[in-house]
């Protein structure tokens, strides 16, 4: 470990869990119905992050390109599962589209940053590849879930309008265009808002981590700028891909919208 890192002992770690008890207690007392979710999420966060810590320790020591690739693949699968579970609409074939969008956006942008900006050595160095791709994918995952959910609720809301458009000879893409626009806009809002607030309202996680680890603030800022730009680039690629890959699933081969009555 580098000299500046503040170590946390296991005693302190478990003591910090008491913070979560406050949330749980409030939820239980006020009967908010969130107690179970809070408990499950806390335990998941605890177990998953610790496991990741141990896994990464092993990975950094014995890394090979295929082992790194395997971890990345597992991350995309998990992100796909989480993103699709957040979409309320049932859409056949959604998982594959989301998987492809997350895979392409995260690995492409991730490797551009790792190789072109950070100059990792070796090129598959897990210490850079895993956190960078993970950060991108976590962001893209949330945005894709928001965008796809918005896309399908907007399409349903515009069913009558699209019926008129298609009856006049519109192609599915033309009928769906306003919904695609709204969905992509909704997906991009959080990351763009974060970019605008960065440094004034918030110190993003990565920069905070580096500052806590004793890094030079300007160096940490530079890193963070790269991170935010790549996050917004990957986000855009992911939500545009996911939206365009999925909207057609709500249209029949003949190009009319499958409204609720036709989905059976």
């Amino acid at each position: 470990m580098s000299d500046g890192v503040v170590g946390i002992g296991y005693v302190e770690l478990f003591a910090a869990s008491a913070l979560m008890l406050v949330a749980g207690l409030v939820s239980w007392k006020l009967e908010l119905g969130q107690t179970r979710r809070i408990a499950v999420s806390s335990v998941r966060c605890f177990v998953q992050l610790l496991a990741a810590g141990f896994l990464l320790t092993y990975l950094f020591e014995y890394q090979t390109w295929w082992l790194v690739g395997l971890v990345l693949a597992a991350m995309v699968v998990a992100a796909t599962q989480i993103a699709t579970s957040r979409v309320k609409n049932r859409i056949p074939g959604l998982a594959l589209s989301v998987f492809l969008s997350l895979l392409v956006s995260s690995t492409a942008i991730g490797f551009i940053v790792v190789e072109g900006v950070i100059h990792a050595d070796p090129w598959y160095n897990a210490r850079q590849v895993i956190p960078i791709v993970g950060m991108i994918m976590g962001n893209a995952m949330s945005s894709v879930a928001v965008a796809v959910d918005r896309l399908f609720s907007d399409l349903d809301a515009r069913a009558d309008e699209m019926f008129s458009l298609v009856a006049l000879g519109a192609m599915p893409g033309e009928a769906a265009a306003p919904s695609l626009k709204a969905a992509i806009g909704a997906g991009m809002t959080p990351v763009l808002a974060n970019m605008s607030a960065a440094g004034i309202v918030t110190f993003p996680g990565m920069m905070t981590g580096q500052l806590l680890a004793g890094a030079d603030p300007v160096a940490a800022a530079k890193y963070q700028i790269v991170v935010m730009l790549m996050l917004s680039a990957a986000n855009t690629v992911a939500i545009v891909m996911a939206s365009y890959l999925t909207y057609r699933k709500r249209f029949a081969p003949d190009g009319y919208y499958l409204d609720k009555g036709l989905r059976g």
Binding site: F163, L165, L168, G169, M171, A252, L262
Partner: protein, 260 residues
């Protein structure tokens, strides 16, 4: 030869996992220059029949012909450009009346065509008793009946060969409904036909009525078509000379737009 014909059309749909037949082996023909009514109990599948004619419904079987050319020789959007369905709840897009009337010309299927001039649209609005609606008015300021007529005129302005009208006069007062009936009649010429679902009393424009019941279609000629009944009284095609403005908007002749 009939302008539009349907052979062996069957449509069924899934409800709670069962396949329910709605239309069984329906066949009919629409001759150019005539207006037809489609009636039948609600739930009989009248709207479904129109949807199927516009290729907006899955068919279990059946082929559709326009001027002798099968629907399979068109792309769906080129077919719908010629066989235009105006739905019961036609909705307008946000914007002005002009934006909506010009909407069809923003679509790929009409790429390269120019929308009619404002004057042509204004005359069309006047023919539908909408002379007081300015082209620049925002559609949110239209009444329900006015919006329904703008949506209908939007389809009329593209001069489709087959007009499938699904209760387009449901939201209108008697006088406006009559105006729409007369305008429809005036648009139907030797290259056009029209099938209307209506629940109002006969207006004297239909040359025949189809009755859809239990999935089967029957037809009866309308003897009183000569034009003394209801809205047809005093109807003079010469009053609709303004429609010549839209002559250029007709889709290309059948075959020119067909798939290679």
């Amino acid at each position: 030869m009939a302008l539009f014909s349907v052979e062996h059309l069957s449509v069924s749909y899934a409800r709670d996992g069962h396949v329910v037949p709605l239309l069984r082996d329906v066949r009919f023909e629409l001759a150019a220059g005539a207006v037809y009514d489609l009636v039948g109990p609600s739930g009989a599948g009248k709207s479904t029949l129109l949807r199927a004619c516009a290729l907006m419904m899955e068919r279990a079987s059946g082929e559709l012909y326009l001027d002798g050319a099968p629907s399979s020789s068109f792309t769906p959007s080129e077919w719908r450009r010629r066989v235009c369905l105006v739905p019961q709840r036609a909705s307008l897009v946000a914007g002005t009346v002009r934006d909506n009337l010009r909407l069809p010309w923003t679509l790929k299927v009409n790429a390269g065509e120019r929308p009619p001039a404002d004057e042509a649209f204004a005359r069309l609005l006047a023919l539908a008793e909408l002379a007081d609606v300015e082209l620049g008015r925002d559609v949110s300021q239209l009444s329900g009946g006015q919006a329904a007529r703008v949506a209908l005129l939007r389809a009329f302005a593209t001069r489709p060969a087959v007009m499938l009208l699904d209760e387009v006069d449901a939201a209108l007062d008697d006088e406006s409904a009559c105006a729409i009936g007369r305008l429809t009649r005036a648009l139907v010429d030797e290259r056009t036909t029209c099938l209307r679902i209506r629940h109002r009393a006969a207006d004297g424009f239909a040359s025949g009525s189809f009755v859809l019941r239990d999935g089967r279609l029957s037809y009866a000629d309308n003897p009183g078509v000569s034009g003394d009944a209801g809205c047809a009284r005093g109807f003079d095609p010469a009053d609709y000379a303004a429609l010549r403005d839209l002559e250029a908007e007709r889709p290309r002749a059948v075959g020119e737009g067909a798939r290679p």
